[in-house]
């Protein structure tokens, strides 16, 4: 997402009228991931092992945010696990970082586990709302979003766990003080 547009919308909106109020951005992150297929993580993991599968995407945030105080960031997500064969547990984690190299090294913003599944089974799971107050991560121009699916499969080795984790909701609710200039 080359989000220079955010600069425009934020500043125009703030200028027009928010005074000392806040700018609230409800960003449908999923809509940006879906066209490139990055809303889904397919897995095919041999039995009895633990493996991670990740995807990442860079977002360019408005320059105005760098001058702003990000009061809070709320991440709300939901996913669906469509397991086709094998058994195990899938844990989905959501990361944000200022650099790609730091993306998966810190603590996850949000995570949820599918619980144990086996065979042909579809399991929806909801990520708990994640709230970050006085957030300094989003106070930047460039931000990376990462998804990690940690898959722990049931043995035996030759019975792989196959399926797909698909995000069904991923929204960011960003509250910004109006020092957008």
């Amino acid at each position: 997402m080359r989000a220079k547009w955010l600069v425009m919308t934020l500043l125009a909106g703030a200028v027009v009228g928010c005074g000392r109020g806040h700018a609230v951005l409800n960003v449908d992150l999923l809509s940006f991931l879906r066209p490139s297929g990055d809303d889904s993580i397919a897995y095919n993991v041999p039995g009895g092992v633990t493996a991670d599968t990740t995807i990442s995407q860079q977002f360019t945030l408005p320059g105005g945010l760098a001058n702003s105080v990000v009061d809070s960031v709320l991440i709300r997500g939901a996913a669906e696990l469509a397991n086709r064969s094998g058994g195990g547990t899938v844990t989905l984690k959501i990361y944000f970082a200022k650099t790609q190299s730091a993306l998966f090294s810190g603590a996850a913003y949000d995570s949820a586990s599918s619980g144990h599944v086996t065979g042909l089974q579809t399991v929806p799971f909801v990520l708990p709302d994640s709230v970050s107050l006085n957030d300094t991560l989003f106070n930047t121009r460039s931000l990376w979003l990462g998804l990690r699916a940690s898959i722990t499969t049931d043995p035996p080795l030759l019975t792989p766990m196959v399926g797909t984790v698909r995000l069904t909701q991923l929204q960011a609710h960003i509250v910004v003080s109006d020092k957008l200039f």
């Binding site: 425009m8 009228g17 700018a23």
Partner: protein
């Protein structure tokens, strides 16, 4: 990008702001402010817009009015106290992270001459954006009411000087004149987007339509003002003026500017492409001057305590500019202009302005009303003054160009040749839908 965004932001500010700026004008007399902006007698608007008043005897105009009024700019002290380091104050510097456009524009719209005893509250609601790959929607909340639906702007005509000589009511003079007008209107799509929280759509233009003109020059004038009936206590006065306008220079521009959304609003690297297009016509000083003829008429009737007057200015004042250059303006990564036509003939028209007034004086009470249209909508003032010995109390009501009702009240004390006046006036000269209250103070010399 940042620069252009700030530009758009400032345009947005102007959107909500210039109308109130022109709504009431700038008045330096606390007495007038105390009467809701009402003009009494020969001061301010009447002589300017009604040529008959040149013949009305000064004695009929006194009614306890001062010869000189000196404003006491307490607002400047307040402003400098709040912003002691103005040149480095980040709130007024667009490049600063602390730049506060609301404060900057409000300061321009509501010049801190007088003390602001109640600041008009700026909407402080949150502004909510809904953003998706092909979605953009903004909810300005209460602030959306500041987005004007109609064309707005400011403008008018001024007469800067008028030196001349008069013989028996006939006066020959050379008038310096200036005409300026700026009008801006949001396009339908941008208006819906900002005011009605309508979702942005892809491949759609969002624009502001702007038009402006500035012209000035000299006008050799022959005028007449005299009493055609009655005497000094009861009389009918007529006035008229014929101007031959020489235009020294002018500039007129009509531009559409805005941005066009991408085929998927946020699907690519360039979600909003700026555009502008328009035509600018101008005749520089030194080119062949503009020519035109126009006139003023006025009538005033004085009958004891009653005074009535009507004046109309710049009737038929159309100027022909025979040596105009026209440039087209457009956007290609940045704004450009290129010559379109040269040495073409164009016309401009000065706005017809008018004033009508009535004053009634009985004893130490003066009541009055006036309607003034200086080229961009009429303002109405109704007010009065009651003198009680050394003290005067005043009150008034006005309807400004935004058709909003404003209220004024105040008083004064006079000690011999000196007087001190205080006036309070509500105003909407801010980025707000609510009124502020200004307290004006001035000295008067009688």
């Amino acid at each position: 990008m940042r620069t252009s965004v700030i530009g758009i932001g400032l345009v947005a500010l102007v959107v909500g702001a210039t109308a109130p700026a022109a709504a009431q004008g700038l008045i330096f007399d606390a007495r007038r402010i105390g009467m809701g902006g009402l003009t009494l007698g020969r001061s301010a608007s009447l002589v300017r817009y009604n040529p008959a008043y040149r013949a009305v005897p000064e004695a009929a105009d006194r009614r306890g009015r001062p010869r000189v009024t000196i404003p006491i700019p307490l607002g400047i002290i307040q402003f400098l106290h709040d912003h002691p380091h103005l040149s480095t104050d980040p709130a007024f510097h667009p490049d600063s992270a602390g730049f506060n456009p609301i404060l900057a524009v409000n300061t321009l719209l509501n010049l801190p001459v007088y003390l602001e005893v109640k600041k008009a509250p700026t909407p402080t609601n949150d502004v909510v954006f809904a953003i998706g790959r092909n979605e953009l929607r903004v909810n300005l909340g209460a602030a959306a009411q500041l987005v004007p639906e109609d064309q707005f702007g400011f403008g008018g005509s001024s007469r800067l000087l008028d030196p001349g000589f008069a013989i028996k009511g006939v006066r020959v003079s050379v008038l310096g004149w200036l005409h300026y007008d700026l009008g801006i209107q949001l396009g339908d799509t941008l208006l819906r987007f900002l005011r009605d929280s309508f979702p942005a759509t892809d491949s759609t233009g969002y624009s502001v339509l702007g038009s402006g003109i500035a012209e000035g020059g000299l006008a050799p004038t022959i005028s007449y003002a005299g009493r055609v009936a009655g005497d000094s206590s009861t009389g009918l006065y007529l006035g008229g003026a014929l101007h031959y306008y020489f235009g020294a220079a002018y500039l007129r521009s009509n531009v559409t500017a805005g941005f066009r959304t991408d085929s998927v609003i946020f699907g690519g690297t360039n979600p909003a492409t700026p555009f502008d297009s328009g035509l600018t016509s101008y005749s520089k000083a030194g080119n062949s001057p503009g020519h035109g003829v126009g006139g003023d008429v006025g009538i005033a009737w004085i009958s004891g305590p009653i005074e009535l007057g009507v004046g109309v200015n710049d009737i038929g004042a159309t100027l022909t500019w025979s040596d105009t250059r026209q440039d087209s303006v457009f956007y290609r990564d940045s704004s450009f202009s290129k010559p379109f036509k040269s040495h073409v003939s164009t016309k401009t028209k000065l706005p017809v302005s008018y004033v009508a007034n009535v004053t009634y004086t009985v004893g130490k009470t003066t009541l009055g009303a006036d309607v003034l249209n200086a080229g961009r909508g009429a303002t109405v003032h109704v007010g009065g003054e009651q003198r009680l010995g050394l003290i005067a109390v005043r009150g008034g009501v006005a309807r400004d160009q935004r058709k909003r009702i404003e209220f004024g009240f105040g008083g004064g004390v006079r000690l011999g040749a000196l007087g001190l006046d205080v006036g309070f006036w509500t105003h909407t000269n801010s980025l707000s839908n609510e009124r502020g209250v200004t307290m004006a103070t001035s000295f008067s010399i009688y």
